[in-house]
């Protein structure tokens, strides 16, 4: 039985092939093998959401998926979404509304917020909160984060 396996996946549009240990999580693979340190590692057991990345179009916990499970998948990280300006509007609103202090939670927050923007652009304030329920912020108190997302979704300022 194999403890290390060859995988091929697409990360932020670029094909990548590597040999990985079966025990390595996707987020550690992205950070340590590919140097994409935008996705953060907080709790490593699925509670905080700092490791949120997108796999085949759906957000997932990078700490609760093995890198080998991403074989053949299309993975997008905050670096990709930032470079393509996919989260540009959200980043601007987060900046303007002070929606981050230490910034540790921000990549995960932006990934979750972008997911909501794609799936339910008419989301109410309560639905925004529900969608972010799995993303912890220990600094801001969430209010400014919800404000920023609401502004982007509804054009409020």
């Amino acid at each position: 039985m194999e403890h290390a396996l060859d995988i091929t996946l697409t990360v932020n549009g670029t094909p990548v092939s590597r040999r990985v240990e079966a025990r390595q999580h996707l987020v550690d693979f992205l950070r340590e093998e590919l140097g994409l340190t935008g996705s953060h590692v907080g709790c490593e057991h699925g509670v905080c959401g700092a490791c949120t990345v997108r796999v085949d179009g759906e957000i997932v916990r990078g700490c609760l998926m093995l890198a080998v499970q991403a074989n053949g998948c299309k993975v997008d990280t905050i670096e990709g979404l930032s470079d393509s300006k996919e989260v540009g509007e959200l980043q601007r609103a987060f900046h303007e509304r002070n929606s981050l202090q230490c910034g540790f939670c921000t990549p995960g927050m932006l990934m979750a917020a972008r997911d909501l923007q794609l799936k339910n652009p008419a989301a109410s304030r309560e639905q925004i909160r529900a969608h972010l329920s799995g993303n912890y912020c220990r600094c801001t108190g969430y209010q400014a984060i919800v404000d920023a997302i609401e502004e982007v979704l509804h054009g409020k300022s």
């Binding site: 039985m1 194999e2 403890h3 396996l5 240990e21 079966a22 025990r23 999580h25 550690d28 490593e44 057991h45 699925g46 959401g49 949120t52 759906e58 957000i59 997932v60 916990r61 700490c63 609760l64 998926m65 093995l66 080998v68 499970q69 979750a112 997911d115 909160r129 529900a130 969608h131 329920s133 799995g134 993303n135």
Partner: protein, 269 residues
């Protein structure tokens, strides 16, 4: 923390899964959505030698409605159940329960089969399965077994699954025109496991977070008045205390949920 070392294999047939389970016995673990198993590996609460990733068996994912039942494949994710128009139409109780399970990113990977096999006493699906009198379908080397949900859940994280068996589906009877159901849950934060919850279908009141497994409150349900039913609840449940709530608090909260459900069931049509 990081998971301990293990080997990984992703078979493409159920027979190959059975063979691997037979060959590796206790050292092997099935990996479905990984949303409960991987946290336990990361925390080093378990250290299997081999993970058998069953998510390649796509024929065991999907929702099929027939005239009288809805069959949900074990590998169907919580998100697929949440989005399904058929579940919304035929299994309103399950449709209401699913948004209480964890958070969107976790619902995108976690599966029905994983949740049923894990049998967490505070989980939503097992209580719904008991309330709706669902049948759990399991397969092993010697063929298929069909088990009533009430018999499937045996105790704390304990089910009727035998070594070498895999949950392949659950079948839920379609809700009829006159059936009424209510789903209620109290949790500390949205998406957390329940402090206490209630899946009620007609007169089947099933509490979760209330014992070692889903608890059918038969005594309460047999009463004709709400007051008697609330009093009888203490004979149905003896909820274990958790870090934040005593047993007495949980019993009180169970009574609150019973009252809300009772009022909804007796007024809605």
């Amino acid at each position: 923390m990081k998971a301990p070392a293990f080997a990984y294999v992703k078979p493409s047939t159920l027979d190959a899964v059975f063979e691997l389970l037979e060959r590796h016995g206790e050292g092997a673990k099935l990996l479905a959505g990984g949303q409960s198993l991987i946290p336990s590996l990361n925390m080093r609460l378990s250290a299997p030698e081999l993970l058998i990733d069953i998510t390649g068996l796509r024929e065991y994912a999907g929702i099929h409605a027939s005239v009288d039942s809805v069959r949900i494949g074990a590998l169907t994710t919580h998100a697929e159940i949440e989005r399904s128009a058929e579940i919304g139409k035929h299994l309103p109780l399950v449709a209401r329960a699913v948004s209480h399970i964890a958070h969107p990113a976790i619902r995108n990977r976690g599966t029905l089969g994983g949740s049923l096999a894990l049998a967490d006493p505070a989980a939503e699906y097992p209580a719904c399965a008991v309330a709706l009198e669902a049948t759990i379908v399991v397969s092993g080397r010697n063929g298929e077994r069909r088990i009533k949900a009430e018999q499937f859940f045996k105790g704390l994280f304990e089910t009727d699954l035998k070594p070498g068996e895999v949950v392949t589906a659950a079948e839920f009877p379609v809700a009829g025109r006159n059936d009424k159901s209510v789903f209620l849950e109290l949790s500390r934060r949205r998406g957390d496991y329940a402090i206490i919850g209630l899946a009620a279908h007609n007169s089947r009141f099933v509490f979760f977070g209330a014992g070692t497994k889903p608890v059918l409150a038969g005594n309460a349900a047999s009463k004709t008045s709400l007051q008697e039913a609330r009093a009888a609840l203490a004979t149905d449940l003896d909820p274990p205390a958790d870090l934040y709530n005593s047993s007495a608090t949980k019993l009180h909260l169970a009574g609150v949920l019973l009252e809300r459900a009772w009022n909804t069931l007796s007024t809605s049509h």
